[in-house]
Amino acid sequence: MKKQQSRQERRKFLRKAGISGFAALLGADIVFALPRGYIPIALEAKDPQSLFGKHPDMVTLNDQPWNVEAQAHLLDDKVTPDDKMFIRNNGLVPESIDVENWSLTIRGEAVNQEKTYSLKELKEKFPKHTYQLVLECGGNGRAEYFPPADGNQWTIGAVSCAEWTGIRLRDLLNEVGVKANAIYVGYHAADTHLSRDPNKEPISRGIPIEKAMEDETILAFQMNGKDIPLVHGHPLRLIASGFPASVSGKWINGLSIRDKIHDGEKMAPPSYSIPCETVEPGTSVPNEKMCVIEKMPVKSLITYPKIGAMIKEGQKLPIRGHAWTAEERISKTEYSIDFGASWKPCRTAAPKNRFAWQHFDAEIDFPKKGYYEIWVKATDNTGAAQPMLTPGWNPKGYINNSCHRIAIKVT
């Protein structure tokens, strides 16, 4: 019975999704017609290249749920293309997206009235805005902590800066009417819990109301000028850059306007939380002494050259990369070829908009032959800079913003 039902469901989905649905699923165009009921073999595959159109050098950390990261040299583009964008999932990617009937319901104790908008209404009713926005997983860099912190062992590649188009969350909330006691906005989405329990949300995080009201906090329906790829949140994604990317919920179909800190799945410590007071590495910290992470720290990444470059003596080495902060802007980037004993300035470009990463570059002369490491350090307008060592240990291994480095040989 169950099998029969799910078979019918699948047929329904196939009819609705059609070829364009498959193309979205596969991240590529399907150029020939498929007979009804036929599922492309790629959907059965267990690699992010054929499933999501990812670059072959992307690294799969987990395939159930899907978690895939980039490598530094893959992030060399000024605007991250979708094939090089990391994938972070807590649950299972929704199987069917019904764009025609997609809606967003705004509810909660701090909203004037419950209201539902169709996707079409959202797109037509409010002004559209486009921003380049950094998304970085709170656990990016976790692999470096010792004692090890459990979870996906992200190295440096759980970060991206794509161009997102959508409507301001503020415009929507202003129209719905938010009460004076509103302090938090939580999201609800269409993904499935790993246990397949339909009553369980895999993740339902959120942002303080002040963050929700910022210009760059948007409900996006486009990424890099096209529909958002399925695995990145098609057809509607909340984007709140500067916070851990887990607040930028994918496949959004509901928002809760709360009069307290949202208490959805993965809001409570130890998830996305660090000790309120710093602790000795390896300390067991009770949940009530953990505080939810809000702003992500200042950070940078060397995206050219790829680690391991060998150059000839006398050859100049151009380097480049990006730096980002949750504050106003990056004020300087510097590089060192002597393990931090001395630092030289890089050129730092102005940001396209707030929360966009800023590109840096420099040209390096090496004094003599040998092995070198190039380290880059960014400083933001508040004076906060990156540490060279891993920063304060925390039980879940979040917000590691230590300097990135690459190895070079001059021969």
Partner: protein, 155 residues
């Protein structure tokens, strides 16, 4: 003239039969593929509210590693596969490291928040397996960059 007509009818009938066979073969193939696809999908979407039965777990070991999951061979391997990979990939085990207490904490968290069931008498065997095969390896706070693939960079 009549002979000519008869010949034509014979040829047309031949073409018709050939076409019919082709159509039947295509329909058959479509049906076959559809059935196969669906049964494969059914497998992938089983409910994850109980361990995977042992008889459904393959046992191919290559160089001390369980081929399907990448888990290290050892006592308790099948219990780990059965209880842990019903919900999530074995990759979240193989990429992590903790002592017995650390693994126990993760199991408790999954039981309290993620619908993991009581592991009963299997818990001790599973914890022993994890603590033995996936223990933390000591390393520095900024260890040397390892496994660099060197290449010549030309301007």
């Amino acid at each position: 003239m009549i002979r000519q007509n008869r010949k034509n009818v014979k040829r047309n009938t031949g073409i018709l039969i050939a076409l019919l066979i082709i159509v039947l073969v295509i329909l058959g193939l479509l049906f076959f593929f559809e059935e196969e696809e669906i049964s494969q999908r059914e497998d992938g979407f089983r409910d994850a509210d109980a361990p995977i039965p042992e008889e459904q777990i393959g046992g191919r070991i290559e160089n001390g590693i369980h081929a399907e999951t990448g888990l290290i061979e050892g006592e308790g391997l099948k219990l780990v596969i059965g209880h842990c990979t019903a919900c999530h990939s074995a990759k979240i085990i193989t990429q992590n490291a903790a002592d017995r207490e650390g693994w126990k904490k993760m199991i408790r968290w999954m039981q309290e928040t993620q619908n993991l069931w009581d592991l009963g008498e299997h818990e001790d065997i599973i914890l022993d397996y994890l603590a033995e095969n996936y223990a933390p390896k000591k390393r520095g706070r900024k260890p040397p960059l390892g496994e660099i693939e060197w290449y010549e960079l030309k301007n």
